[in-house]
């Protein structure tokens, strides 16, 4: 049951990230998808992968994107 909820969260936040007009929101939603993916890895019996995923995709990658957005422009267009 948990995996179905997590899958829906991942796919929804991925789609939402791509239709945002505000790039900062897109970065946050990417982190959301990454963190949900990390939980899903935990469900799939891979705790070591889940730890790495939570740090890299859940925290570092959104920060990278947010930095890039800060250095460029925030609105899509």
């Amino acid at each position: 049951m948990l995996e179905i909820v997590l899958s829906i969260v991942i796919v929804l936040s991925a789609i939402l990230a791509l239709i945002q007009k505000d790039l900062l929101k897109a970065a946050i939603l990417t982190g959301f998808a990454g963190a949900a993916l990390a939980l899903l890895f935990q469900v799939l019996l891979a705790p070591d992968v889940a730890l790495t995923q939570a740090i890299v995709e859940g925290a570092i990658v959104p920060i990278f994107i947010a930095l890039a957005v800060k250095k460029t422009q925030r609105s899509d267009g």
Partner: protein, 128 residues
């Protein structure tokens, strides 16, 4: 049960398709890069699902576990090791792409792919 792996399969296919869609149809380069990184995440998810074993245990041999019981019940750890490497590679690729975008934004003042990454072979010749 096998239902778990089916759900995972659909999720990873959805992520890959979202990524491929964004590669063609999204114009903003940062969103395009975010979308492309979803391809890599979908592939990682698929590879982790290979090692999953329904009703199994985490592949760490704790003290007091029977070895033969562990061998027949633990998940297959090789794909997990591969995905660890692959996650880090994906993050570093994304970082390099974003760094290049930051440099190019200073030159063009826009994030549109059509402007930033258009055909350059005509522009550079026969001025001056």
């Amino acid at each position: 049960m096998a239902q778990v792996q089916l759900v995972i399969l659909f999720t990873s296919v959805a992520l890959v398709v979202i990524g491929l869609y964004s590669a063609i149809f999204i114009d903003n380069i940062i969103k395009k890069i975010i979308g492309i990184s979803f391809i890599e995440e979908g592939v990682n998810l698929f590879i982790v699902a290979i090692g999953y074993k329904a009703g199994g245990v985490v592949p760490i041999l704790m003290p007091g576990m029977d070895t033969s019981w562990f061998a027949s019940n633990a998940a297959y750890p090789l794909p997990f090791g591969l995905v660890l490497t692959s996650i880090v590679i994906g993050a570093s690729t994304l970082a390099v792409m974003l760094a290049l975008v930051m440099v190019l934004y200073r030159r063009y003042g826009t994030l549109s792919t059509k402007v930033m990454l258009a055909d350059t072979s005509k522009r550079e010749e026969y001025d001056e």
